[in-house]
């Protein structure tokens, strides 16, 4: 099993006396309300998914991540985990060493304030998303951020209720689970969709070389028309139950927002899976991409910059069903022309369900399709 990124699995969840001590001073400290994505970041820091981060980035790490894709101690890190606050809030808390992070008026965590600093939104957008086009969802979000960033370690004392508690494992738990199962090698699979045959083919191809498969769906903010989180999980349950050998698959959620940062986000996703205990990570075509902002395989090429990442990527091309081959293929292994291909377009699959129909068995397993079709409203 790989050691956690940066060498140490962070545990920022306060317990026992430390928790009581913090709860005692909650009333007297200023509050910083979080949105849902910031809440996920805070929880992911505290649970160790973002190890070695212990809090939101201070300016020296932030600048290094932007320009070097590394923390200031040279550890690979590509997505700045930052917390923005307004000028008024910055003024309000400027004399405090600590503040309380809240969500929906519930006190969640304490932040030990190390620095409050201003940042350049264009510099952030251009470095992370490689564009200043505000039609890019990540860029648009950056331009709507508040003007200051607050950096400092956090301690979580209340976990926010999760709708899927049975699938909400922390890195410490997955690491112990993989060890108990006797898995020395585990491949992580990132998804935000219901599984079609192309996904299954990629997962099984990877599983051929590893002891276990860790299916880790991203749960959180979705675009209108996407499959709902509970439908994705139920669809995967059907696939695992009917088509995977016993004790080869573990599924657990990753509560985070998609940033659509393409190559940089692919590295970030790999780091998070390394912290969960994966030795390998699947990177497909246009991983974490959106529109045409990144070249189709940029998210694979970026791995060349990180010989010290500590997790091995498995690269895959896009897959299709070839009628002549009579099975799943890709352009590297199939000699036939495009008229023979049935593509696994997510848009097409969603369209089929919206029209009250079921995808053919060349696209989706009938058991999976049935679960989706039987969901009252499978879309966001």
């Amino acid at each position: 099993m790989p050691k956690p990124h940066g060498g140490k699995l962070i545990d920022g969840i306060l317990k026992d006396k430390e928790r009581d001590k913090t709860l005692n001073k909650v009333v007297s400290l200023p509050k910083i309300p979080l949105n849902r994505e910031q809440l996920s970041d805070a929880e992911n820091i505290a649970k160790g998914i973002y190890s070695p981060l212990e809090g939101f980035l201070c300016s020296n790490d932030y600048q290094n991540v932007l320009h070097e894709k590394r923390l200031k101690d040279d550890t690979p890190w590509t997505i700045p985990i930052i917390l923005d606050i307004s000028k008024e809030k910055a003024d309000e808390i400027s004399n405090n060493d600590e503040a309380i992070l809240t969500f929906n008026d519930k006190n969640i965590a304490i932040i030990h304030i190390e620095e409050i600093y201003q940042f350049d939104k264009e510099e952030l957008a251009e470095n992370i998303y490689q564009t200043l086009d505000d039609k890019h969802p990540g860029v648009s979000k950056v331009f709507n951020m508040k003007d200051h960033l607050i950096g400092g370690k956090i301690g979580l004392f209340n976990e926010y209720e999760n709708p899927f508690p049975q699938y909400n494992l922390k890195p410490m738990e997955t690491r112990i689970l993989f060890k108990e199962k006797g898995w020395r090698t585990v491949v992580g699979f990132q998804t935000r969709n219901t599984p079609h045959l192309g996904h299954e083919y990629i997962q099984k191809a990877a599983l051929t070389f590893t002891d276990g498969l860790f299916i880790n769906p991203v749960i959180g903010k979705k675009k209108k028309g996407d499959f709902r989180d509970d439908v994705i999980l139920k669809a995967y349950e059907a696939l695992i139950k009917n088509y995977y050998p016993k004790d080869t698959v573990v599924m657990s959620i990753f509560n985070t927002e998609m940033r659509y940062a393409g190559p940089r986000e692919a590295i970030h996703h790999a780091i998070c899976r390394k912290n969960f205990g994966c030795t390998h990570f699947i990177v497909g075509r246009d991983h974490a991409g959106v529109g045409n902002y990144y070249s189709p395989y940029a998210a694979q090429e970026i791995f060349e910059e990180f010989p010290d990442l500590g997790i091995t990527p498995f690269f895959f091309k896009s897959f299709f069903y070839c009628k002549k081959c009579g099975g799943i293929a890709n352009e590297k292994i199939c000699p036939h022309s495009k008229e023979n291909y049935i593509s696994f377009s997510g848009t097409k699959i969603r369209e089929i369900f919206k029209n009250g129909k079921i995808p053919s068995k060349e696209i989706m397993r009938p058991e999976v399709a049935k679960v989706i079709a039987e969901s009252k409203n499978p879309f966001v």
Binding site: M1, P2, K3, P4, G7, K8, L9, N60, Q63, N64, L66, H67, E68, D74, F119, D120, E123, Q166, L169, M172, E173, R175, I176, L177, E180, V250, E304, P307, D308, L309, G310
Partner: protein, 73 residues
């Protein structure tokens, strides 16, 4: 706002420098320094220790939860 990059100098024998210079021609490396940095990062990360062990109490507590959730028999 960009901070200055922090670098330091390491000496290597001139003939070795020249060999590396030859070796990186027509590759993505733009300098001997960037190549040496790449190789050293690879070596240093390989030499890092194995994952730390959890305490017995933590491990038992986690296993109990994993059994309750159906992940372990």
């Amino acid at each position: 706002m960009s901070e200055k990059k922090k670098f330091t100098t390491v000496s290597i024998p001139t003939p070795l420098f020249k060999k590396v210079e030859e070796r990186i021609k027509d590759t993505g490396f733009t300098s001997v320094s960037s190549y040496v940095t790449y190789v050293l990062r690879e070596i240093v990360s390989e030499e890092e220790e194995e994952a730390e062990a959890f305490s017995k109490e933590d491990e038992e507590r986690v296993k109990e939860r994993l059994r309750a959730l159906g992940y372990l028999d």
